[in-house]
């Protein structure tokens, strides 16, 4: 039994065609297809999004800055598979997520992260097998029906209200 909350899926959101997919949070859902759908409801209430991906939270291997020095990638000539590796690049600012570094053929998540480290600095890394990642299709139709409608919901944006003052109400 899963109990009352269903399993957790990490949600990865790509804002535009040319921005990196980022780990923005998670949803509780029953299966990957359901997770992807509720991820759209939860994370794309406001613009903008180009693509969404989900993968089971338990499938992520994670290593923090402190753990990096103990990272022991095994390369024993075993079978390889593709991993997606994410890195949080800095500790400084508030809004830094895990950004996708890339896709690596590796013998395990440690190996994938070790490869990613050759390309990217970071203070925390995540790796997840690509076969467990489910995402939206990068077609015009999906973008139009899943993501574009948020643009019309302008009342959700603070800019819609402008400057509000008692004087302004009197003049109106």
């Amino acid at each position: 039994m899963w109990g009352t909350e269903w399993p957790r899926f990490e949600v990865i959101k790509q804002d535009t065609q040319h921005s990196p997919p980022q780990m923005v949070g998670s949803v509780h859902a029953a299966d990957p297809e359901h997770a992807l759908l509720v991820a759209r409801h939860v994370f794309v209430r406001r613009p903008a999004a180009y693509a969404l991906f989900v993968a089971p939270a338990e499938a992520f291997f994670h290593v923090s800055q402190e753990g990096l020095k103990d990272l022991a990638p095994r390369r024993e000539g075993g079978p390889e598979e593709a991993y997606w590796v994410f890195a949080k690049r800095s500790h400084r600012r508030s809004m830094v997520y895990g950004d996708l570094v890339g896709r690596f053929l590796a013998q395990g998540p440690e190996d994938a992260i070790a490869q990613a480290l050759l390309q990217a600095q970071g203070v925390a890394f995540w790796a997840v097998p690509e076969r467990l990642v489910v995402g939206t299709e990068p077609t015009e139709e999906v973008v139009e029906s899943w993501f574009a409608p948020a643009k019309d919901k302008r009342y959700r944006l603070q800019s819609y209200y402008g400057l509000i003052t008692a004087k302004g109400v009197e003049d109106a």
């Binding site: 909350e5 029953a30 359901h34 759908l37 509720v38 759209r40 409801h41 939860v42 409608p149």
Partner: protein, 252 residues
């Protein structure tokens, strides 16, 4: 420019669509804060906003035609003047009832909006095309639920089947023409809804059967959009209560 008869007919048609959306949104919004899990609470609030947004689009198209105020139409019209289908006014029921109704309505909207996007009246064609995009996502969402409730547990199957038994006869009302619709169809402004009924039933029945649900035979079908149930009065009474409470208020 539309000739006066067509204009009046289109006003009536837009109002019927808007009333469907307003009343459905009202039922959906009753779930907000009370859904089975947090994520679905967020989802159902989206559905309610989307459907209400569609009502606004239809009423604004009507406003362009006859200058009527959308809020006045929604908040000051009496139950006997509402033109919504019975399907959308039935009480929200359980989650199965809500999701089965949503599926049946979303499938209908996907079908006629696709046709209406070809309307000879450009503002309608444009609006239908825009709303259709959102409705495609709705249909994904409600089909997903239909499948999971139909094939989940014995209990979910029983509840979904019961909901379907109640709701299914009412979908046929959605394909009836208003007395003035014929002229719109002839002018190419409105798709012939009667012709969409068979493809709708074919598509929906096939899907229902795939997920292990049985479309019921027979049942009562309302004969016009004048017909309602006793639930509409209290739905509107609550919805209009604040707006009508202070007739002197100029703005909300």
């Amino acid at each position: 420019m539309l000739d006066p008869y067509l204009k009046e007919a289109l006003v009536a048609r837009l109002t019927a669509w808007a009333d469907d959306e307003v009343v459905l949104a009202q039922r959906l919004s009753e779930w907000v804060g009370h859904a089975p899990i947090l994520e679905e609470d967020i989802a159902i609030a989206n559905l309610a906003q989307d459907e209400l947004g569609h009502a606004k689009v239809w009423l604004e198209l009507r406003q362009e035609l006859d200058g009527s105020d959308p809020d006045h139409l929604v908040f000051f019209r009496d139950p006997l003047e509402y033109q919504n289908a019975v399907l959308v006014e039935l009480p929200k029921g359980d989650w199965a009832f809500t999701m089965v109704r949503q599926y049946l309505f979303d499938a209908y909207e996907n079908l006629w909006l696709k046709e209406a996007a070809q309307s000879a009246y450009p503002p309608l064609a444009e609006a239908a095309g825009r709303i259709l995009k959102e409705e495609k996502f709705h249909l994904r969402h409600s089909s997903l639920w239909l499948e999971r409730l139909g094939q989940g547990t014995e209990e979910s199957h029983r509840r979904a089947q019961e909901a379907l038994d109640t709701l299914f006869p009412y979908v046929r009302q959605l394909f009836q023409l208003l007395p003035t619709d014929e002229a719109l169809v002839e002018a190419g402004i409105l798709p012939d809804l009667r012709a969409l009924e068979a493809p709708y039933l074919e598509e929906v029945e096939a899907r229902l059967e795939r997920v292990g649900l049985r479309p019921p035979q027979g049942g009562y079908v309302p004969k016009s959009r004048q017909e309602h149930t006793e639930y509409l009065w209290s739905l509107l009474a609550e919805m209009q209560s604040v707006a009508r409470w202070d007739p002197e208020a100029k703005a909300w």
